[in-house]
């Protein structure tokens, strides 16, 4: 038995479109323990959202999932019987999506949408109990005067308030794992800071395990205990967040740090990464970052062999031929 809350070994997700096969996630390993926040960082198209949706059984039917192990709290997520997801999704695993505008139904009140998410998983709850739980939940996520706002429609709430409502919905059934996919990307920075603070305090109070997905190293740094950096469907580096960001091993992690705009960096000191991430990942020989890499571009093994994620000291791992472990 694994002791991790979630253990993923060699997960791949491919999409069949006509005669083409596109790889979104390619051999990903990761684990997450109770009470831990894992930040997954990567650019658009690197597979981070597909990775998250594969944990919720929300992939489209064209997706082909292959894995050695996809174990969540004793449940094999790679083989959930039809109808089985209902007792997992929203109950054991909560999800917060990126865009608070489209994640709520515009034609139904906030209160009724929250009530539904509770009633579906707790058939015995009376409407009075549900109402009380909703008010408590909304107040715990910082909505003042919640009892008077249950009959509001989503458009009457600001983006920040809607995201708070969605966080309330995601934790309404006390899940063990919360997946947050770019939950603050659509928000203004001062509101983003508030929502990050809220997620941090909820995670701590409830000892939640959280997977926090973002394109921003800075946002991940402010919330995650551990970080996994994804590039073109692969995790290229993992480890404790503070260590990876201060002493990055993989050239891509290093490059992401060098091009991260931050207050206090002198003007014009950003080091850009040449080129752009591959748009479609087909069959790849060698390292998928090598075209943009300033370390391994000319190394023979980088051209011929795709590096695998190797364990290094101190709970760190890295997938790079040029890094000596």
């Amino acid at each position: 038995m694994s002791s991790h809350l979630l253990e993923i070994r060699n997960l791949s997700v491919r999409f069949q479109s006509g005669s083409h096969q596109l790889t979104a996630v390619d051999g990903v390993d990761l684990t997450i323990d109770k009470g831990e926040t894992l930040g997954i960082v990567g650019e658009s198209g690197c597979g981070k959202t597909v990775l998250a949706t594969s944990l919720l059984g929300l992939l489209p039917s064209s997706a082909r999932v292959a894995t050695h192990r996809l174990q969540f709290s004793g449940i094999d997520l790679s083989n959930v019987p039809s109808g089985g997801w209902r007792s997992i999704r929203g109950r054991r695993i909560g999800m917060v999506f990126q865009d608070p505008t489209t994640a709520l139904n515009p034609l139904r009140t906030i209160g009724s949408q929250l009530a539904e998410s509770i009633a579906i998983h707790d058939r015995s709850a009376t409407s009075r109990e549900i109402r009380k739980r909703i008010i408590d939940l909304l107040e715990s996520v910082g909505i003042a005067g919640a009892s008077g706002r249950l009959s509001d429609y989503p458009h009457q709430w600001s983006g920040g308030m809607r995201q708070r409502a969605l966080i309330a919905m995601a934790i309404s059934n006390s899940p063990d794992l919360l997946i947050a996919d770019e939950p603050t990307t659509a928000l203004d920075v001062t509101i983003q800071a508030q929502v990050l603070e809220l997620l941090r305090s909820i995670q701590r109070e409830r000892e939640l395990a959280m997977i926090f997905i973002s394109h921003s190293l800075g946002v991940v740094n402010s919330i995650a205990d551990r970080i996994s950096v994804m590039y073109a469907g692969r995790i290229v580096e993992s480890g404790p967040c503070s260590e990876v960001l201060t002493t990055p091993s993989h050239p891509y992690t290093r490059a992401l740090i060098d091009c991260f705009p931050e207050i206090g960096r002198s003007r014009g000191s950003l080091v850009a990464i040449d080129g752009q991430p591959p748009r479609h990942i087909g069959k790849i020989d060698g390292c998928r970052f090598r075209d943009r890499c300033n370390v391994g571009r000319d190394r023979l093994d980088c051209v011929s062999h795709d590096p695998v994620l190797k364990r290094a000291a101190g709970d760190r791992s890295v997938a790079c031929h040029a890094v000596v472990i």
């Binding site: 650019e43 658009s44 600001s158 920040g160 308030m161 203004d188 920075v189 001062t190 509101i191 983003q192 800071a193 508030q194 603070e197 394109h215 921003s216 190293l217 800075g218 946002v219 740094n221 402010s222 503070s242 960001l245 201060t246 490059a255 992401l256 740090i257 091009c259 991260f260 705009p261 931050e262 207050i263 206090g264 960096r265 003007r267 014009g268 000191s269 950003l270 080091v271 850009a272 990464i273 040449d274 752009q276 991430p277 748009r279 943009r292």
Partner: protein, 318 residues
């Protein structure tokens, strides 16, 4: 090259400019005052709805003002109908979304040739290739459609198009916010390089203070239609005087490991008010130093040091 404007002279001036849209009860710009000097980059930073884009539209003369003075290169804004082609060519805009700002049916060659031809410049293929060189793109994209290019490549095309007719003022509206982080830095560096080599003046609008800090000589912080603080980039970032500037700086995600500005964090309480305040300071509902004076008296933008103006009754720091 450019007809040189004396360095330090003012190319854009806004004096107490008010703008409203018919669809909204409250004005969107509520007395904006700022200047852009020749050869400098002014960063304008603020959150959604603060009037950043409206500010650019006002400078371009695309919308009428309710009151106040807008002066561009010593005259009226170029305008849509009455401006001369030359005055319109002197000020150019790069939009936020490079997926929407390029005509999907035109090739890159056609996109880059159009402004040259219309403004009577040489529009040969070799001139177009020079433009591609200028923004670091391969000549092989000439006959491509925008859809065949990545977001970063498209934004380079948009910049090349804007600079092709040698404007004196370049307006950039969130030019990197639609781009991936690794590509963002390429475009930021390109804008800095081009500004150094071509010497145009530049207004760079962004919601991201850290991005603005990478390009701007001076920064204007906007909140709900007003400039609340304006000054040299370094001094505004290291010693923000307006509480909103402090909150903004503290909210920017950082890679640093030590808790940074913990005393500032989260100090901007709540959200912008849903209804516009008619008197007093508009930031007071989120401010932690507001007093009864802030309820009644609207703070004016006043000089705090020689290089800094602040609109606050209780400016922070020295």
């Amino acid at each position: 090259m450019n007809p040189i404007i004396a360095a330090g002279s003012t190319v854009v001036t806004l004096q107490d400019v008010r703008v409203s849209y018919r669809s909204r009860a409250e004005p969107i710009l509520r007395g904006v005052t700022l200047t852009l000097s020749a050869g400098e980059t002014l960063g304008v930073v603020g959150e959604s709805g603060c009037g950043k884009t409206t500010l650019l539209r006002t400078i371009l003369g695309l919308i009428p003002t309710d009151s106040g003075v807008v002066e561009v290169l010593g005259g009226d804004p170029p305008g849509l109908k009455d401006g001369s082609p030359a005055s319109r060519a002197a000020i150019q805009l790069v939009h936020q979304d490079p997926f929407a700002s390029l005509n999907p049916r035109m090739t890159i060659r056609q996109i880059l040739q159009a402004p040259l031809r219309i403004n009577g410049y040489e529009h040969s293929a070799s001139r177009v290739r020079e433009l591609l060189d200028m923004v670091g793109l391969s000549h092989s994209v000439l006959e491509n459609l925008p859809a065949q290019l990545s977001g970063g490549q498209r934004q380079r095309i948009a910049i090349a198009r804007a600079l092709s007719i040698k404007p004196k003022v370049l307006l950039l509206d969130e030019p990197v916010s639609a781009l991936d982080v690794s590509v963002q830095a390429q475009v930021i560096n390109l804008i800095n390089d081009l500004q150094g080599s071509q010497g145009f003046s530049c207004i760079f609008v962004s919601h991201d203070l850290a991005v603005v800090a990478q390009v701007a000589n001076r920064i204007a912080v906007m909140y709900l239609g007003q400039v609340v603080e304006i000054g040299d980039t370094d001094s505004v970032l290291t010693e923000p005087a307006h509480p909103y500037s402090m909150a903004l700086a503290a909210s920017v995600p950082s890679l640093r490991q030590e808790p940074r500005g913990e005393s500032w964090r989260g100090l901007a309480v709540g959200e912008p008010p849903s209804e516009m305040m008619t008197s007093g300071c508009t930031f007071r509902s989120r401010c932690w130093v507001a007093t009864s004076r802030c309820d009644v008296e609207t703070p004016r933008l006043v000089e705090r040091t020689s290089s800094r103006q602040v609109a606050c009754h209780h400016p922070q720091g020295r």
